[in-house]
Symmetry: C2
Subunit: 760 residues, 2 copies
């Protein structure tokens, strides 16, 4: 039994040895400074647990007012901070709003402190100073020295379990704090309920229910210690404690195992020898503490931290080695960290027995697929899901299955907009699930019921009460009176409708194809030929006054001005070019976009990005223009696509903590990087064509799930040689700067011949 | 299929026709005035749903202070009130603290009002005036005319479903309000979370989670309407609404099906014709909305209100007809209403698929028993569970199984003290589960694992951190410094320990028998021979100062002064008699107890009872002295037992709304009545002997589950002929005023010959 067990665990390790070690190039600290909003902690690919240090706890509101500092802490960690509050188990990667931060664990020694304290004086609480010199972040592993108490903290994870290893000094006053009220984007009253049982002197179970970005979210846990605690206790920090009644019979502050309340913090006390390691494992579940315990016992059955770390890193290597590149060390760091960030989510959302909590709060079983959550679809439909259709097709099919389960459980009968933990937080515009679904259907990656998926798309897109859909269908655009983002949402709906049309066409539903193709042309309805831009329209059909093409605010757009959004017709670049007066005018406009000077007052309006995140008024740090650099291809100037793409790659992605110019947005920024670095990009997901750009590596070999291999070579590419002289696919020179999905999936070699001269 | 279905439903109806109709004698209004705390609404025997009118909504606190009026509303209904707020689905019967009141439904017409309004002006809200002239309360059926809006409301129930039938006037403004924040004993912040889905235009599902007497309680529901509502809506009444974020995209006040928050009220609008009936069914579950829906569809599959009512009343008749009596009409009302009240709980607590939520908040399956909740054990161990051991032995065995499941799930490893809805509220003292378990074991009613049950008793009784158990075991009494109720709790533990000893003896555990027999003698340790009373002792062994034998407060007792509590040695009356100086002194003291004048200042201290509830200083409205009238038997003066019992029966139980002198306490007061009316009483549950009193009916036939029949006859009994001349059991005259459990269960006839002269 023992032997078999060992062999099982050795398996990924031996694979690891055979494969190229690419994990070494991952630097999870990339993007942790300023706007990247990534987290540096430990997780496995698509893991349910993201165990990561939080450097501060900022409430969403202070004295009833929005506290803008909360935004910095979307991922819980800011590189510039000097202190760590503790290590919590759930994080989003790269978002621009947030939630989670469940179950913060923090080791301390000395006098027991149950408040985190303030950053400027760590003696005021359980937080500790740390320095990056003593910090190490790897894929699946994180280590830091907590200076205040001379404790070394190490973290690793399985899919559903966080594994902590704390090395203590000698003391009779060692504590492990479990903060059950810590959270990211904490509101007053966010903690609806917390329930804890100390099952024995090494096992604690419970759950926390919050009302935040996810309105009704419960996370269950099972937490186990490698060493019995000598005593433990709890404090209720809620302003007004709930009725205690006859519970007053018990002293609940110390060694009392049956706890519940709104805002609880616990402590567990130990004696430790110098250098003694106390380990903690915490498994999560969306179903029950029983589910969490099952996850814990199945995934992390022993106390071998090194073995778990090795397994986590082997899992990463397996995923990351699906693409092997030849490039500079710096580029490898960029590339594999982008791949790492792309593989952080969507996250697995079911227990090892396949059970999960659905939107109806009932327990469901994902019998035939892996259920995922964390769908930041406004971001990720653009490049991340198309990237998955190439390199993670099985997962992408399961993601669509998860979206369909969401739809089936939704009492609103809507596909997810931005869903996490059995909830939709409704963030951002459009109904971009349909893009993900159409892209999968068009690319033949349908492990799901495609007919049902099409029905879900149509039902979602005809939900007349949702964000102006009713008016949009009736008038062909959303009137400004109905919606603050009337113009950008009209453009997004038009693209999404084109996606539905493509899926309908593929599935032989000509009726739907016609209906939604017509809707897809709605973008034309908000083009103001007089000013030459997309522009919000009013109920009476007139255009909204006070037009300002540079402003993001009050113009009917979101996260982009009309300079950017006027290019948002990915489904019909040719039509847009016509609308804008032909290829010449169109490419001149693109030139201006990338080169114009944006006055500071407009930058101040721009959300989520640093000054460096803007090129001209092209905003790479937000998503709406992600396809725009590739539009030169349609205007007959592919060399400008090549030039712009390389410029963006060079300026927006650096192997450093501040290397990301904007939020990574659950991997979308990384996916843009990955496609562009490989030399092609899906301008319109839902189409099977990719526009060619300028590969930024010398060679990349993609190991596809179908066992085929697709190789990209870039002969003579360098920082100067960014222009493409010719492209050869399997020995045949391409006439257009485009390839198809089939070209990739059947395997082969795409060779770019690079030069320093644009080929006009 | 249809036919088979009908036959299935007809079965209880045909039985009903064959059996004597005793349901007619039940008057659920008995006890609804003043202190009885019963509810008049519709339920089936031991039903999970108690659908009943609530006449007011009084918060537990007003402006941060306890609001004493809340106490009146333990059952939601007070007979003296002139208005009804609505009909809610869960109620305790006869408790002296409370909770529940889930899911209040109220029909209205005219302008929509979402506040209940005030009782003195029903126009201020959705409540309505009503009068008892238009009210009808039967077992399983309740009807009332709501005067404000001329609506007739009728209620019936299945085990897990409440069935409403509302007869409306003609209007285009008919509303059915669903108040999801209504509750009994509502505290600020009691509503932890509420979640609702409007699944379609006739079905609503959801749950409400509260933090009240039950600290972590969630009740799920599925609610269906016989007619589609034309529109619906919701309002959030919480002081500070939770973060709404992107949910602001939706207008959530009207026709929005996806709702959650802390304090919600909903409305459903209809057009109605004159006399049109709109019916509502609401099923509950502790597990999930899925479970509630399963309960609904299994138990109440059609819209035939009359059929459901007939089935409910047939179920009642089946249970009530287990005892047929010959008595006056008034006495039949008393008797069958007492039997009805005795059969209201404990309540079934599992779905039709046997699933229920356990104390660990995980879902469990009661594979081999019916799971029950609502165990008010400090009250009900005395007579209710012993009564069940005779007339409901299967249910009582399942109740013990439920208590053992509670123990198994308890992280404190304790049998229930006062448990409801997967929680223990820890109300009152002692660990009287052990009495219920011992009584069942001694009487051979063990469908449960008796060994495991004994282990649970011992573990509970050795929980040294619970209410002075540690000191009690160490010193033989609980010191006054440790516990405000040190004296009464010492007495209760001593009795409970005797129960454990009896069970241990029966199961051959001599070691435990000896240990707990010794502990059972602890009552002697707090008897102060100087004053002749039980008396609180201090850590140093001395008795507590400022002794006042009449006072209930500050003397170390709860719900009784030492005049009452000094008789609390049910396990050893002989020992107590010796302690008190022999039979003569003992019976003289009993005489004084029943006849002395209690000054008003002491009455003011007495909880839960009316002035009429006190005879001398004997307090029948509280439980500690329930066995005391029977102690004359041990002092050789059985005629005084006979006299006192009849006096208590006459004065404390009347067939009128104010007929109960104190809280019915989940059936304990009724069970005392039932035993005493039948002529015998279990002075010490855990013993198999019953003391004989004075039967107050002419004849009673008990149909036992084992098919035997036990008949009690009282020859010549009348209000005057309360004394027993002789008693004959199966033709053989008894020498002692006692019978055994076996005497009853093997069937036979017990004949009392009554006279107006005491037989000294």
């Amino acid at each position: 039994m023992k032997k078999r067990f060992l062999l099982l665990w050795m398996l990924p390790l031996s694979l690891f040895a055979q494969q190229k070690n690419v994990v070494q190039y991952v630097n999870p600290l990339i993007g942790t400074q300023r706007m990247g909003h990534t987290f540096p902690g430990a997780t496995v690919p698509f893991g349910m647990v993201q165990l990561s240090p939080d450097t501060d706890t900022i409430p969403y509101e202070m004295n009833g007012k929005y506290n803008p500092d909360v935004y910095k802490y979307c991922a819980g960690y800011q590189y510039d901070d000097k202190t760590i509050v503790g290590f919590s188990h759930t994080h989003f990667s790269g978002t621009g709003h947030s939630d989670l931060g469940d179950f913060l664990v923090m080791p301390t020694v000395g006098a027991l402190q149950l408040n985190p304290g303030i950053a400027t004086d760590t003696k005021t609480g359980f937080r500790s100073a740390f320095s990056h010199a003593n910090e190490k972040a790897e894929a699946g592993y994180y280590k830091v020295k907590l200076d205040d108490d001379n404790i070394t903290a190490e973290l690793t994870a399985t899919t559903r379990t966080g594994f902590h290893q704390y090395t203590f000094p000698k003391t009779n006053d060692a504590h492990i704090i479990l903060d059950l009220m810590h959270g990211i984007y904490n509101y007053e009253d966010k903690d609806a309920w917390t329930f804890v049982r100390v099952e024995n002197d090494t096992l604690v179970t419970g759950y926390r229910q919050t009302a935040g970005w996810a309105r009704t979210r419960t996370v269950y846990f099972a937490m186990t210690f490698s060493k019995p605690f000598k005593e433990y206790g709890c404090k209720d920090f809620s302003k007004k404690q709930v009725y205690r009644g006859f519970w007053g019979k018990f002293n609940q502050t110390k060694n009392f195992p049956d706890l519940a309340g709104k805002q609880l913090r616990m402590f567990f006390n130990f004696n430790t020898e110098e250098g003694e390691k106390i380990k903690v494992k915490m498994a999560l579940s969306s179903v029950s503490t029983e589910g969490a315990l099952l996850n814990l016992r199945t995934e992390a059955p022993n106390w071998d931290f090194e073995e778990t770390k090795a397994a986590a890193q082997a899992a990463w290597n397996t995923e990351l080695a699906k693409i092997n590149i030849e490039a500079s060390e710096a580029e490898k760091q960029n590339f594999y960290t982008a791949l790492y960030h792309a593989f952080l989510g969507p996250t697995v959302y079911m227990d090892v027995d396949r059970k999960y909590k659905g939107l109806d709060q009932n327990v469901h079983t994902a019998a035939n697929f892996t259920n995922y959550t964390t769908f930041s679809l406004w971001d990720t439909y653009r490049a991340l899901h198309p990237f998955f259709n190439i390199i993670q097709p099985t997962r992408n099919g399961d993601m669509v299955n998860s979206m369909l389960a969401h739809y089936d459980q939704s009492v609103l009968k809507m596909l997810p907009i931005w869903s996490h933990y059995s909830n939709d937080n409704w963030c951002m515009s459009g109904y971009h699930s349909v893009s993900v679904i159409a892209d999968a259907i068009l690319k033949g990656n349908t492990s799901f019921d495609a007919k049902h998926a099409l029905e879900a798309c149509v039902t979602t897109a005809t939900h007349s009460n949702y964000e102006g859909i009713g008016s949009y269908v009736e008038k062909g655009f959303i009137p400004d009176e109905k919606l603050g983002t009337s113009a950008s949402t009209t453009l997004e709906y038009a693209y999404d409708d084109w996606c539905i049309a493509q899926a309908a066409n593929k599935l032989g539903r000509t009726d739907l194809y016609e209906t939604f193709s017509k809707r897809a042309g709605s973008y034309k309805n908000i083009f103001d030929a007089n000013v030459g831009f997309m522009r919000a329209r009013k109920e009476d059909g007139s255009f909204k006054n006070d037009f300002d093409a540079l402003s993001t605010h009050g113009q009917g757009f979101i996260e982009g001005n009309t300079w950017n959004y006027s290019f948002f017709v990915p489904q019909d670049p040719e039509g847009l070019i016509t609308l804008m007066g032909g290829k010449k005018k169109f490419s001149a406009r693109l030139d201006t976009l990338f080169t114009m000077y944006l006055p500071d007052k407009y930058f101040a309006e721009t959300e989520d990005i640093t000054r460096d995140g803007i090129i001209g008024t092209y905003v790479h740090g937000n998503e709406p223009a992600h396809h725009v650099a590739y539009l030169y291809n349609f205007a007959g100037q592919p060399w400008k696509t090549q030039e712009r793409v390389r410029m963006i790659l060079k300026h927006q992605y650096k192997p450093a903590p501040d290397g990301l110019g904007g939020n990574d947005d659950c991997g979308q920024m990384s996916a843009w990087y990955l496609f562009s670095t490989l030399g092609f990009y899906p301008v319109a997901p839902g189409a099977t064509v990719y526009q060619l750009g300028s590969p930024a590596i010398n060679k990349a070999v993609l190991q596809l799930e179908n066992k085929n291999t697709f190789t990209v070579e870039a002969i003579n590419q360098s920082d100067k040689n960014v222009y493409v002289q010719k492209v050869v696919l399997n020995g045949k020179q391409l006439e257009q700067p485009a390839i198809t999905h089939e070209d990739i999936m059947k395997g082969g070699t795409l060779t770019f011949y690079m030069t320093d001269k644009p080929k006009k």
